[in-house]
């Protein structure tokens, strides 16, 4: 089956020791083409050790392609890409094996001593020690995603790839997951690349926000604001507007929106079957 064959990215061994500590993730002139379609176009990217980077981009901008290249799931077409061997990922869907209990999912493919204890410790970190024997189908969306997080962290990754991991969760669970991911990141200090389409999420969590457009990095904005960050602060709002503009979303000024919302609502509703409940 073609999709199952292993396609490791071109990787250089870390044998040349530079004067400065080199970034664990380095992409130079990285391109990925599917036929004549260029998805990633001479992209350059550095992620420093322990840095939390968020990657924003419109759909079709190549976010997922970049993440897959970093994960080693797809071969790159040209350029160089250095990534640490110890990588792990959490996807939008938890991707747990339904036939393995939670703790066995955590230690999937690991050859370690006392796997059960290690799994239990990892599950305790995400607050799910009591669910170690649960089948994945009995877990809620948030719980399943936390097991997926434990599965990634138990490998002590140097690079943690997060592919819209909170997109399918409800708003309350998402807030709790944001807090959890920050505390786990502080504890384990992996480099993190969070792919998201949620500007607020990016500004809330990351040290640096990248905007991907037409296959290369269109903007690289460092966020110096102290954590925990508040979405109400003016800096946050300014960044948010700036990023949304970069993403091509025009925001109407509140003053301009005012007269529209204060206009009296039309009394005559056009005939529509959905206006009638049966």
């Amino acid at each position: 089956m073609h999709s199952m064959t292993l396609n490791p990215p071109r990787q250089k061994a870390h044998h040349d020791v530079p004067a400065l500590p080199r970034s664990p993730v380095q992409a130079r002139q990285l391109s990925k083409r599917f036929g004549t379609n260029t998805i990633l176009d001479n992209l350059n990217l550095d992620i420093r050790a322990g840095e939390f980077v968020a990657l924003l981009g419109r759909s079709g901008s190549g976010k997922t392609t970049l993440l897959r290249a970093l994960a080693g799931l797809d071969r790159i077409s040209s350029g160089t890409l250095d990534v640490p061997q110890a990588r792990a990922a959490v996807f939008q869907e938890p991707r747990l094996m339904p036939w393995k209990r939670a703790w066995r999912n955590v230690t999937l493919g690991l050859k370690i001593d006392q796997p059960r204890e290690r799994a239990r410790a990892a599950l305790a970190e995400v607050g799910l020690a009591h669910r170690e024997n649960a089948w994945p189908s009995t877990l809620s969306g948030g719980e399943a995603q936390r097991v997926a997080l434990a599965r990634a962290l138990v490998r002590e990754p140097q690079l943690l790839l997060l592919d819209e991991p909170f997109a399918a969760l409800d708003a309350l669970t998402r807030i709790r997951m944001h807090q959890l991911i920050l505390s786990l990141w502080r504890q384990h200090r992996p480099s993190v690349l969070l792919v998201t389409h949620d500007v607020d999420e990016a500004v809330l969590l990351a040290d640096r926000v990248l905007v991907l457009e037409k296959g290369s990095i269109a903007a690289d904005i460092a966020i110096t604001q102290q954590r925990p960050r508040s979405a109400e602060s003016p800096q946050f709002q300014k960044l948010r507007t700036q990023l949304l503009q970069l993403l091509g979303v025009e925001i109407e000024a509140p003053a301009a929106a005012q007269p529209e919302s204060s206009a009296p609502a039309s009394i005559v509703t056009p005939f529509n079957f959905s206006n009638f409940s049966i």
């Binding site: 089956m1 073609h2 999709s3 199952m4 064959t5 292993l6 994960a71 080693g72 799931l73 990588r87 792990a88 990922a89 996807f91 869907e93 991707r95 094996m97 339904p98 036939w99 393995k100 209990r101 999937l108 493919g109 089948w135 994945p136 189908s137 009995t138 599965r151 490998r155």
Partner: protein, 258 residues
């Protein structure tokens, strides 16, 4: 749950068949339904008791069971191996699948005369026919099961460093197991079906032989008894596979009990 609510639906469901059986019995007793057309239910049960008591039923069921087991012992590994070859590699699919899909459309009953010409009318032909008929359900369901495994799970396993053989063991085979068990159930069903046919070919023992013999002596009671035994055997194997499913697919939401 009280006893009455537990048993009431079963009683209710039994009413209709019991009424039908009573009508059948009445028709037989009054001569409306002659014995050479269909024996009375009471007579069928007496005959069943006699056949069991004399040991005739037991020995013939054993012969039939042996044929099924030998046939399945060939078709189960064969169907599984072919499905793995076709399911796990593109080259395997090219090599195996088109031929299997073609062979599957040949009605297996149509092959009986050909197999008799090739292999004679002995035991070998019977077993080859059972094996032939039961290979396809096994192959088809397992093959589609392997191809139906969520590629995202395979990808996750690859990302977490599982080698290809490990991916097969930890992801593809467990993912295809429900389909394998469905295939097993179909195959067992087909095996009893093919038994009915192959045991009409020059058999000197087995359930089919009992039926053939009974036809010659116009013993409709024996024929019906054999049909009942066939269906009981089918039911038993079905229960067996369900038992396996209950244990092996404990992770499925339908089997989970808190």
């Amino acid at each position: 749950m009280s006893v009455s609510t537990l048993h009431l639906p079963i009683f209710r469901r039994a009413i209709c068949p019991l009424v039908l059986a009573a009508l059948w019995e009445t028709a037989s007793r009054t001569g409306l339904l002659p014995e050479r057309i269909l024996a009375a239910p009471s007579e069928i049960f007496t005959t069943l008791g006699e056949l069991i008591a004399s040991g005739e039923m037991g020995s013939n069921v054993l012969v039939s069971l042996q044929r099924v087991l030998i046939g399945m012992a060939v078709s189960l590994p064969l169907g599984t191996a072919l499905a793995l070859i076709a399911g796990l590699s593109r080259q395997g699919e090219v090599a195996v699948d088109s031929s299997m899909q073609m062979a599957r459309t040949v009605p297996f009953l149509g092959l009986v005369p050909l197999f008799i010409l090739w292999f004679g009318i002995g035991e070998f032909t019977k077993i080859v026919l059972i094996a032939y008929a039961t290979t396809f359900p096994m192959y088809l369901s397992l093959y589609s099961g392997i191809r139906g495994v969520d590629s995202k799970l395979v990808e996750a396993a690859r990302l977490f460093g599982l080698s290809y053989p490990q991916q097969i063991v930890h992801v593809i085979l467990p993912g295809a197991l429900p389909s394998f068990l469905i295939g097993l159930r179909y195959s067992l069903g087909v095996s009893w079906l093919s038994l009915v046919v192959v045991e009409q070919i020059n058999a000197t023992a087995g359930l089919g032989y009992l039926i053939n013999n009974a036809r010659d002596f116009m013993r409709t009671d024996v024929i019906v008894v054999c049909l009942i035994v066939y269906s009981l055997l089918g039911l038993a194997t079905d229960l067996l596979v369900r038992g396996i499913e209950h244990y092996a697919l404990a992770w499925r939401p339908t089997f989970i009990k808190d």
